[in-house]
């Protein structure tokens, strides 16, 4: 499972970096999204990978070893929300740039 997750993060991050370095704004925004997915999975992995363990502690006598770390899950949730908002904002800027310059090149002119 560690191997699968590590591969997934690696592939997502590599594709993201490649696309961010492309000259078209659409490729850049897809790249940024992939990059943020990779980062989100990475944060989750940093809380140790556990199968079949709940992050929420219920009442009664509790053995912490039965539960997974809830903090990274909270962090991922925040990061997803912020990343989503920023992607939406970038989409608006992208469309404005496309409308003003008539080109979807990141510099506004074809090279």
């Amino acid at each position: 499972m560690e191997l699968i997750l590590a591969c997934a993060i690696g592939v997502l991050a590599a594709s993201g970096v490649y696309l961010v370095l492309r000259p078209r704004t659409f490729q850049v925004i897809v790249g940024l999204s992939l990059l943020s997915y990779a980062v989100n999975l990475f944060i989750l992995a940093m809380g140790r990978l556990r199968m079949d363990a709940a992050p929420i502690i219920s009442h009664g006598p509790v053995n912490p070893a039965d539960y997974t770390d809830p903090v990274p899950q909270a962090l991922v949730l925040t990061a997803i929300v912020i990343g989503f908002a920023m992607t939406a904002l970038f989409l608006v800027v992208l469309l404005a740039a496309r409308g003003l310059s008539g080109s979807d090149h990141v510099d506004g002119v074809e090279k």
């Binding site: 980062v39 809380g47 800027v93 003003l100």
Partner: protein
């Protein structure tokens, strides 16, 4: 200290209230302007109060505010120590000046100027006050989101293009920030900065490398914000195309990177400074020298005043980076003095540039530099015209402001820029028995960059002010000149009151570098340790 801890959250709540009021009531012309200025004045009053409360106690006094009263390492905590209070105060001063300036005409150039402006102030204050690493990320995103909107304020092809680059760079930087935070959480098991400092010596040796990688990635994210070479290429385009009051407030944005680096490095590596620490120091030092060099050459090469201002910002960012990498209390004290003075002067320069643009069209300024290169063909015709013996009062005022900014930025006596650089150099040279090679590099970088900035400023000043003025009286708006004069008066006051200010910031720096006090105060209040 128990009663005063609540004051730590006020600098965040006041701009937050301003954002809400603006969103609910919308824009109604003059009355909106008035209550927005009022909010900014209240913010300044709160910042002054925080500053005075902390100044009236000993240097180790801090206002620690656990949000929701959760026990400290688990909940988010706001920490107002002297460093944070000084930064919040500078932010509030700069924000008030920029807001008054903007209310003369810039706020009407686009929609939602005021809510975004207050949101940026809120993000800045929050970033300075928070004691939690992930909360720092949230406040960074908040101030960045507001800054994206503000960069776009006014619209136009140039602004949209540079805003797009700015957004992409900062989104990538945010990803790096998150990776760094995640790695640090994985190895220390906490996000509270004081708790991280406490836990670091107990990290298992096999995890230590992972922590160092996390710290390095996080520092790269901070360096992007601080505008360090080679991560600064977004900066000149963004700052010079942003509308002037926004650019003036952005003068403190690079200082957020400086603040975060200073806070994180003094905390994280105070207990265990291993070889990786000195490696990081060396890298930062080299980046600082490169930033100063790039900024100085850029300042010499820039034809227009707005480009010049952005490169001056780069020079000051590089100088601060050098000071952080030096990691000596004396140098840090000088750097804190410098950060106050340089921020105020850079803000004033961006505002002044706009006033000059109104009295003298920017094409004429660029033309003046081009004429220098290609020869002035109109020279003989000019002799026929009668030269007016007097200079209009408004032009005199503007040229005086320009001269003061040039003196502060270049670091010439008798103004505060000189005192700041002098104290940094003095502390660096006196740090060891004999001055190290790094101290000489440090001195050289600061002195040479001062010379370059001076040459660039003087050349621009000559082209702008020693020229035949356009026909008719030179008119400037009182609303636009007052903030500039106010900022510069503060710069001069900093020079007049250099003794007490330096002593205060010296104590602050001492406290910062002996981070036991910080860690104990933060963790002590929560009960858990």
């Amino acid at each position: 200290m128990d009663q005063m801890q609540h004051i730590a959250i006020l600098p965040i709540l006041v701009p937050f209230a301003a954002v809400i009021v603006n969103v609910i009531f919308g824009d109604h012309g003059k009355s909106t302007v008035r209550f927005n200025v009022l909010f900014s004045v209240v913010q300044l009053a709160v910042a002054v109060m925080l500053f005075l409360v902390l100044a009236s106690h000993e240097a180790s006094a801090m206002a620690v505010y656990p949000l929701g009263n959760w026990p400290v390492p688990f909940g988010i905590v706001l920490v107002a120590d002297r460093l944070a209070s000084v930064m919040v105060l500078v932010t509030a001063i700069l924000a008030l000046a920029a807001l008054i300036f903007a209310s003369a005409r810039w706020n009407r150039n686009g929609s939602n100027f005021f809510p975004l402006f207050h949101a940026l102030v809120m993000g800045l204050s929050g970033a300075f006050l928070t004691g939690d690493l992930f909360n720092l990320f949230v406040f960074f995103e908040l101030l960045l989101a507001a800054s994206y909107g503000l960069v776009l304020h006014g619209g136009g092809r140039n602004r949209v293009r540079s805003a797009m680059h700015y957004v992409v760079i900062n989104l990538v930087a945010s990803s790096l920030f998150l990776i760094g935070v995640a790695l640090i959480y994985a190895t220390t098991g906490t996000l509270n900065m004081a708790d991280i400092a406490r836990v670091i010596p107990r990290i298992a040796p096999q995890d230590r490398g992972l922590f160092d990688v996390g710290a390095a990635v996080l520092s790269v994210a901070f360096l992007i914000k601080a505008g360090a070479w080679p991560l600064h290429f977004w900066l000149p385009g963004t700052y010079s195309s942003a509308s002037p009051p926004v650019a003036a407030l952005f003068a403190i944005m690079t200082k957020v990177g400086f603040y975060a680096l200073l806070r994180f490095w003094t905390l994280a590596f105070s207990y265990s400074a291993g070889p990786e620490f000195s490696l990081g120091q060396t890298m930062m030092f080299m980046a600082g020298v490169a930033t100063v060099a790039y900024g100085s050459i850029g300042a010499l090469a820039s034809k227009a005043l707005d480009r010049l201002a952005t490169y001056v910002i780069l020079v000051s960012a590089g100088t601060l980076l050098l000071a952080v990498s030096y990691n000596a209390p004396g140098v840090t004290a000088g750097a804190l003095y410098y950060v106050v003075v340089a921020t105020l002067a850079a803000g004033a320069l961006f505002l002044l540039k706009d006033v000059i643009d109104q009295t003298l069209p920017s094409e004429a300024q660029i033309l003046a530099v081009s004429l220098e290169l290609y020869g002035d063909e109109d020279e003989e015709i000019d002799e026929d015209q009668e030269v007016s013996p007097t200079v209009p009062a408004a032009a005199t005022l503007l040229s005086w402001c320009f001269a003061i900014i040039a003196l502060v930025m270049a670091g010439l006596p008798p103004l505060s820029g000189f005192l700041a650089k002098f104290s940094m150099i003095g502390a660096a040279l006196n740090a060891g028995e004999t001055p190290s090679a790094a101290a000489w590099w440090f001195t050289g970088a600061i002195v040479v960059s001062g010379l370059f900035v001076l040459i660039a400023m003087v050349r621009n000043g000559i082209n702008i002010f020693w020229t035949s003025l356009p026909d008719g009286a030179v008119r400037v708006r009182v609303l636009e000149v007052t903030p500039i004069v106010g900022l510069l008066v503060l710069c001069i006051l900093m020079a007049v009151a250099a003794g007490p200010a330096m002593a205060y910031l010296g104590e602050t720096a001492q406290f910062l570098h002996a981070s036991d006090g910080y860690v104990l105060s933060v963790l002590g209040t929560g009960g858990a340790s």
